[in-house]
């Protein structure tokens, strides 16, 4: 056999060529993502038409035609409606939100005392931000201050009646103050309560187990409105004659119990996902029940269900808006109450106020869901494939 002539093998590397023009750049992106096939092109055209129809109108309404400041309804009404705007005008009435901003934040909390809720808000931010940043040390102390210290301090600051502070009844609270305080307390109460209920549901004691199942399933089966109704109508009946309960406290109890039942099911999901070997391992180390749960099971179970827990928090935050129906004035309630203010009643008022409230709710809920996604990624220790 003759030896192969290897001279065709090239000795120097070929120069790297740029990718063909057809697969890079804007036009290739458009071809791949917008007009890949006939069906795709039709979809793109429909979507584009939708955006072109809706988006300019929204921008026009919310920014270009919007009224930002003004003393009363005339700035937001057309001439025919007794205002100053030309006929056919349609724009957001941010002047309404602007004028009612204090109420939307604090309700009818006395104006000269409003530094108190503001101070509580600052304390909340100061304690919350380091808690949410994983790199800041002393998490235990921080959590203690946030979960135990803050509610106590806030209680005295907001309610008053001690340390020379004027007493402000909860009936005068309103707006974002009620929404945030209600959901903060409900979150702080419902997580431990939910964990206890979940443990109870998986308990070997039949009586405890049955009671927890009945409570969880009954609460989950009925709407929150019914629970709030119960809290506002039935609680006074259940108490000895003459004992009255603050309306705010009744709503707080209703919302917390409701959220605890949902939380219990989320936590139970996590408990079920922990392999049996972990329980048995803890037993064989000689740990007692509470030690086993605290050191071995709960840290793993809670980590697994962080998305579920945050979803429950988000649901609860949104659900606090239902206290509007039992005539308390949370963020949504106060906005709705102000529609009937004759000084501001125009065709645009309701829409503008509701969109502002929706934006505030959206900001909090979206923030929570993004933070939970971040935590989930950070704590991911390889349980998921």
């Amino acid at each position: 056999m003759q030896e192969h002539d290897m001279s065709w093998v090239r000795t120097e590397m070929a120069l790297a060529q740029p990718a063909p023009a057809g697969v890079t750049g804007f036009s290739a992106w458009v071809r791949k993502n917008l007009i890949a096939s006939t069906g795709d092109t039709i979809l793109t055209i429909i979507g584009f038409a939708l955006v072109v129809m809706i988006l300019p109108q929204i921008i026009n309404w919310a920014f270009i035609n919007a009224v930002w400041t003004g003393p009363n309804r005339t700035v937001c009404a057309t001439v025919a409606q007794g205002g100053i705007q030309p006929d056919g005008w349609s724009g957001a009435c941010w002047a309404f939100v602007n004028a009612k901003f204090g109420q939307i934040m604090f309700g009818t909390y006395p104006v000269e005392e409003r530094w108190r809720p503001i101070l509580v808000g600052i304390l909340l931010v100061v304690l919350m931000v380091p808690m949410l940043m994983p790199s800041v040390p002393r998490k235990g102390l921080n959590a203690l201050l946030l979960i135990v210290g803050l509610p106590i301090v806030s209680f005295f600051l907001l309610v008053g009646g001690a340390f020379g502070l004027e007493h402000v009844e909860t009936a005068r609270w309103g707006g974002l103050l009620v929404t945030l305080s209600l959901s903060f307390v409900a979150i702080v109460v419902s997580l431990p309560l939910g964990i206890m209920l979940a443990l109870g549901r998986r308990s070997r004691m039949p009586v405890v187990k049955m009671l927890c199942v009945i409570f969880i399933e009954a609460v989950r089966g009925i709407p929150l409105i019914t629970v709030l109704f119960m809290a506002s109508v039935m609680l006074p009946l259940f108490l000895p004659p003459g004992v009255t309960f603050d309306k705010y406290l009744r709503a707080l109890i209703g919302v917390s119990l409701f959220a605890a039942a949902y939380m219990a099911e989320v936590v139970r999901g996590g408990l079920q996902a922990i392999p049996k070997g972990q329980y048995e391992g803890a037993d064989s180390l000689g740990l007692g029940y509470w030690q086993k749960m605290y050191f071995i099971v709960m840290p793993q179970a809670l980590k697994l269900v962080i998305p579920g827990i945050v979803n429950t928090f988000i649901g609860m935050f949104k659900d606090t808006s239902l206290v509007t129906i039992i005539s308390m004035f949370d963020l949504l309630g106060i906005v709705k109450q102000n529609f009937s203010d004759a000084n501001w009643a125009t065709a645009q008022t309701a829409k503008s106020g509701l969109i502002f409230a929706a934006f505030v709710f959206w900001l909090f809920c979206f923030g929570m869901s993004r933070y939970s996604m971040y935590t989930e990624r950070r704590l991911d220790t390889g349980h998921k494939r």
Partner: protein
Amino acid sequence: MASQEVLREEPSRASLINDPKVRSIFYQCLVVALLVSGVWWIVHNTIVNLTNLHIASGFAFLRGRAGFDISDTAIAYTSDSTYGRAIIVGLINTLIVAFVGIITATIIGFIVGIGRLSKNWLIQKICTVYVEVFRNIPPLLVIFFWYSGVLAVLPAPRDSINLPFGSFLNQRGFYFPRAVWGDGSWLIPVGLLVGIAMAWFVARKAHQRQMATGQQFPVFWTSLALIIGLPLLAYVLSGFPVTFDFPKQSTFNLTGGFVVKPEFLSLYLALSFYTAAFIAEIVRAGIRGVAKGQSEASSALGLRAGQALRLVVVPQAMRIVIPPLASQYLNLTKNSSLAIAIGYPDLTATTGTVLNQTGQAVECVVIMMVIYLAISLLTSLFMNWFNAKMALVER
């Protein structure tokens, strides 16, 4: 052998306090004692309070005259009807809004969920914006938005907005032609029923034949022809008995036709849009949960993209989708109680009115709880059955 005997001899009980069994029984007795005393305390207080208020307990009040009007009634009801009937009217309204809401939410949810997985960038972004907006806003706010923000500022009946098919939209609701069922129109629903039955029969036969011989039969088109064709045939045969009553504009109001009130419309739209965002996420998770190898394998078998989706991907995705979908349906049903905020007479609203008029707080809350629990239980039973039917059959 010896060691076993030693074990048996010594049942090793250090003391009664450390025996887990004794402890468990003690704790349970403690719980029962606390519960019983708590319940007794509550019952005692309630009885004292009710006696002070001069309210007789019991369900006899349900037979009393209601004395209030209800705006939307599906069954005959006047203010002379009983309290019991008022509650039933509310229950029917709840079921109606839940039913149409579930259907609409499912349709929007599936479209948006599949849209979020689309390779088309624009469609994907539009669907993502929809989901992120509606998921993070309270449903009550969406209801108010439709009610006070959109429907309340529509023009007065005089300047109603004309819509196709002789329908109108104004402040007082959505007006559309009402079908008037004349003589002999009973043939049409009968035709529909027969069509459905025959379609079911054809599907079964076709499945059996495909199992036996491998030959396929165009089941979908045949069923569609049967289900639409037979009622149409009945309509023609019985001499066109159905006529339409069109809404007519008079000076101040529209007369005739069928009216959907703004309360119902805003509740229905809000619940559908809100729940659809959650259903979209469930559908997306379901489809993404099917391993990529499944669709690759089906294209290796020579199935077209549509066939692969219909025969391989969707049946597997449904298994992941159904349980959370069931809980979303329940959520929608429970959220329909928000109707009370805008005055749509659902179960919670009518029962609340009855409660206010009679003062029978305990009974009314019990009725509400029992009905909602029953709805939840029935829905979850049905969905569990459906889930078991769809579940993977393993060896």
